[in-house]
């Protein structure tokens, strides 16, 4: 009888600890990610255009944590042909230049929304006149 109670108790205890542990780990991971995202800040300083299709977006990391620029959007369309800067780690207080071929036709005098998005999902957008 005692053995049965002991086995049952150990099983229930193990199950409880496993369940609590895994849900706690998930919570910790989720909270850590949210905290990192909360500490991220970025600011688009300038947009450069070569007059054809090449663009260069200069981004400042003004947050409390290093960041990685994951994507740049022009009027909501994601750029795909990156030349440099994309995926590179940007230290706190540093600036990054993301060069790419625009996926949207750039017309002189037109205004475009340029958005930079980090790997953690933070975003900054500016309206830029070509």
């Amino acid at each position: 009888m005692i053995v049965l109670v002991l086995i049952a108790s150990v099983a229930v205890y193990s199950f409880s600890v496993d369940t609590l542990g895994s849900s706690s780990s998930l919570f910790q991971m989720h909270t850590a990610l949210r905290e990192e995202q909360a500490r991220e800040r970025l600011s688009i300083l300038a947009v450069w255009w070569d007059g054809a299709s090449q663009l260069n977006v200069t981004v400042l990391n003004c947050g409390k944590i290093e960041l990685v620029i994951d994507a740049v959007y022009i009027n909501g369309v994601q750029a795909s042909a990156y030349t440099s800067g994309n995926g590179e780690t940007v230290a706190k207080g540093s600036i990054a230049s993301i060069k790419f071929a625009s996926s949207v036709l750039i017309v002189d005098g037109q205004t475009y929304e340029i958005a930079a998005v980090t790997e953690r999902g933070s975003r900054d957008a500016v309206y830029w006149k070509a």
Binding site: V5, G21, S24, T31, R39, R41, L45
Partner: protein, 252 residues
């Protein structure tokens, strides 16, 4: 029989104790996880508060350009005042030359703290610049604010050396050209000043308040009568932009 019954009763009692111990352990583990998660949540909330505070500070950062000079050796010299509510840390200086096609954009690392109400001078003094270009200057703060200054495209054309003034043939012409930032050609008022001890402008005082003509130009005649010769600087001040030219007057 009595003995067996007592043994069974004892075993049930022991089983209950074992069960109670494990229930206690489960509750203890649960409490530990709860406390851990509560601590994490608290840390997260503190981070959110810190970042909100940072955003608040960011919104209250204001920098005003007091003056922008281009020195005689083509170096930039920015003077800026903190008119906001918090100390500002300037970390980047951007210089855009809009004359070239496509425009060029350069960033220079700086490290200048400006207290509330204070003025910082000689910002960007190591940056080479030409006033003959249409430049835009950016000051970038650590918190991510950007402050722009659109420079007038300004040139002073004339000789680097002038003679000691003896006859009217010794006057020398200096032409100041100023292009408006908007691109439209309208008269632009500016001041002229030469800091030499014996320098005179023809027909106007030194310093003088003048304006450009329809072509965006103004020509001033200058003479100097320092017997031993001297080097002076001609200053053209357009709004808060100061452009300089060093001129040497030869000895008599």
């Amino acid at each position: 029989m009595r003995c067996t019954g007592k043994l069974s009763h004892n075993r049930r009692g022991a089983g209950s104790i074992v069960g109670a111990v494990f229930i206690f352990l489960i509750l203890l583990s649960g409490s530990a996880f709860y406390i851990l998660n509560a601590n994490l949540t608290e840390e997260y909330n503190e981070t959110l508060q810190d970042m909100q505070q940072l955003d608040l500070k960011r919104n209250k950062e204001i920098i005003e350009f007091s003056s922008v000079s281009v020195t005689t050796d083509n170096k930039l010299n920015v003077t800026a005042k903190n008119t906001g509510s918090y100390q500002v840390h300037l970390i980047w200086l951007g210089l855009f030359d809009k004359t070239s096609t496509p425009e060029t954009q350069q960033y220079f690392s700086i490290n200048t703290y400006v207290d509330v109400g204070e003025t910082a001078t000689t910002i960007g003094s190591s940056v080479t610049i030409t006033s003959a270009s249409q430049n835009v200057i950016q000051l970038v703060t650590e918190l991510g604010n950007i402050f722009h200054y659109d420079m007038y495209k300004t040139t002073i054309t004339g000789p680097d050396t002038i003679p000691y003034y003896q006859t009217s043939a010794d006057w020398r012409n200096y032409t100041v050209r100023i292009s408006a930032t908007t691109g439209t050609s309208v008269p632009i008022y500016f001041s002229l000043y030469a800091n030499g001890s014996s320098v005179e402008f023809d027909g106007i005082s030194n310093p003088a308040w003048v304006h450009t003509d329809a072509n965006g130009e103004y020509t001033v005649r200058i003479k100097s009568t320092h017997a031993a010769g001297e080097t002076f600087t001609l200053y053209v001040t357009v709004e808060s932009l100061v452009v300089q030219k060093r001129i040497t007057q030869e000895p008599a």
